[in-house]
């Protein structure tokens, strides 16, 4: 679906965020970009979204065209909702920006809010919602355009562990239901192991890809209790330690 070849990105001030990064993304996959802060994983996500351009190398979509607005959903670490708008109005925003009227969008907005388990909260303002519920609104907003790619930049990092675990389980169910490609940036080994089918390990200064792993797990709500999950976490931990020691 998307091929990233030998991409480099250097920011003004001389920080080399990415060097020689190559990656191929297949539609419908669930991929985690895992690494400590400063390894360029967020920069890579922005390059995929087209919000930033590489200095060297290419980001090429299979059909040769940059994707249509709305075919990419983006979820940030903060829910980044409009504080003056209701949950439904926040979810409506991407459709509104594409010129769709409120009436035409109503069914899609309702469906997206229902998908993330927020039916009944349509008229709630962000400040009336918990952190986890705000993140659900943010995910509904990203899903309302039915994107083929969902980019997530440490979306659960600011949540407490119980909320995070629940949202991870729900995200897996959503992914199975929708079948879009998810690229999930995280600095949590546990999160990457629990969610992703492909785990890409990145190291900092400069940001580059060390290696990637295929997950042997059959992902489900009880994956955390699976000995194979513990084994995968151990494998990633060891690989990450080696990568960081040699980087």
């Amino acid at each position: 679906m998307l091929t990233i070849s030998q991409v480099g990105r250097r920011f003004p001030g001389g920080i080399e965020a990415l060097r020689d990064v190559s990656l191929t993304l297949a539609s419908g996959d669930f991929l985690a970009l895992l690494g400590p802060s400063g390894c360029g994983k967020s920069t890579l996500l922005r390059l995929i979204a087209g919000l930033d351009q590489p200095d060297t190398g290419t980001v090429r979509w299979d059909d040769g065209q940059p994707p249509e607005p709305g075919s990419i959903g983006y979820v940030f670490q903060d829910a980044t909702l409009l504080p003056w708008a209701t949950a439904a109005e926040n979810v409506y925003l991407p459709l509104r920006l594409r010129g769709i009227t409120r009436e035409q969008a109503a069914a899609d907005v309702w469906a997206a809010l229902t998908k993330v388990g927020l039916q009944g909260f349509e008229t709630a303002r962000p400040r009336q919602l918990s952190g986890g519920m705000r993140m659900r609104v943010s995910i509904a907003r990203a899903l309302v355009t039915r994107p083929s790619v969902l980019l997530m930049d440490e979306p659960f990092a600011a949540l407490d562990e119980f909320t995070r675990n629940k949202l991870q389980i729900d995200l897996l169910a959503l992914w199975r239901d929708i079948g879009c490609l998810i690229v999930f940036v995280t600095h949590s080994i546990y999160e990457a192991a629990f969610l992703a089918r492909r785990i890409v390990l990145m190291t900092p200064r400069p940001g580059r890809i060390d290696q990637e792993m295929q997950s042997p797990l059959v992902h489900g709500p009880d994956t955390r209790l699976d000995p194979a999950y513990a084994a995968l976490v151990a494998r990633i931990t060891r690989a990450m330690e080696q990568a960081l020691a040699s980087a």
Binding site: P69, G70, Y74, T80, A85, R96, L97
Partner: protein
């Protein structure tokens, strides 16, 4: 005891003490009049003072309207282009730090028409808070939200209308409240500078006039009216701002 009543109780006590001290010490009225003398001076000719207050308030609100309109437009220009920002920002600061009495005579000579020159003077004073606050508000949305708008193909104008302007509303309302008080100050200062050569109907002119005639209680009465007007403008704009934000669902 209800703390909301405290300022009123304090004021009542202070006024009582003031009256008693003036009466007991036998201070002449043309130096420090007591509260009763001030009220009496107001009651003796309320229409004259109230008409003058109305005149000053018309200048104040005209200036506030002009300052708010110009402030929002220039803040939007700054948000739209870095060039405009570089061009406008220093001049806005120059305008803010220049004392009104120093430029008021020039404005009065150049503008000519007394009413318009008073409005221009008051606008100069009232402009900065509403402008600077709106500019801050327009720049307040987090970069991620601006990215999101870009991701969905929204141009500058839609981003301005659907993101930056709504985000700037609380900032604008705060700025407007500060500018409201300053517009009144600016109007009165301009009236003083214009003196008898000016519009000759504002409260400042009444204060000058009463001063020439040593009608000190009447000076105080005009002063009290000014203070009350200032408090009313401040409170009114505060209530208006909270009402608008409440209606929008912010609070």
């Amino acid at each position: 005891m209800n703390t909301a009543l405290l300022p009123a109780v304090f004021a009542a006590a202070a006024i009582a003490v003031w009256e008693i001290v003036v009466w007991a010490a036998g201070v002449p009225e043309y130096l420090v009049p007591g509260p009763i003398a001030i009220v009496a001076a107001f009651v003796a000719d309320p229409t004259g003072l109230l008409i003058s207050l109305g005149s000053t308030l018309i200048v104040t609100f005209a200036a506030l309207l002009v300052a708010a309109t110009l402030g929002v437009l220039m803040a939007m220009a700054m948000a739209a282009s870095r060039l405009a920002e570089a061009a406008i920002q220093p001049w806005a600061v120059v305008l803010q730090v220049t004392p009104l009495p120093a430029i008021a005579p020039l404005i009065i000579i150049w503008v000519g028409d007394p009413f318009t020159s008073l409005v221009v003077c008051a606008t100069v004073v009232a402009f900065f808070p509403v402008f600077a606050n709106t500019a801050t508000g327009l720049a307040s949305p987090p970069a991620e939200l601006a990215d999101l708008f870009r991701l969905y193909g929204a141009g500058r104008i839609r981003t301005l209308l659907l993101l930056r302007l709504p985000a700037a509303l609380p900032y604008f309302l705060t700025g407007l409240r500060i500018s409201g008080g300053l517009a009144l100050v600016g109007a009165v200062v301009a009236e003083f500078v214009a003196g008898s050569g000016g519009f000759a109907s504002g409260l400042a002119y009444r204060i000058l006039e009463a001063g020439y005639r040593l009608q000190v209680p009447r000076m105080f009465a005009a002063l009290v009216l000014l203070s009350l007007a200032g408090v009313a403008i401040n409170t009114g704009l505060g209530v208006l701002g909270r009402g608008i934000l409440h209606w929008r669902g912010d609070a």
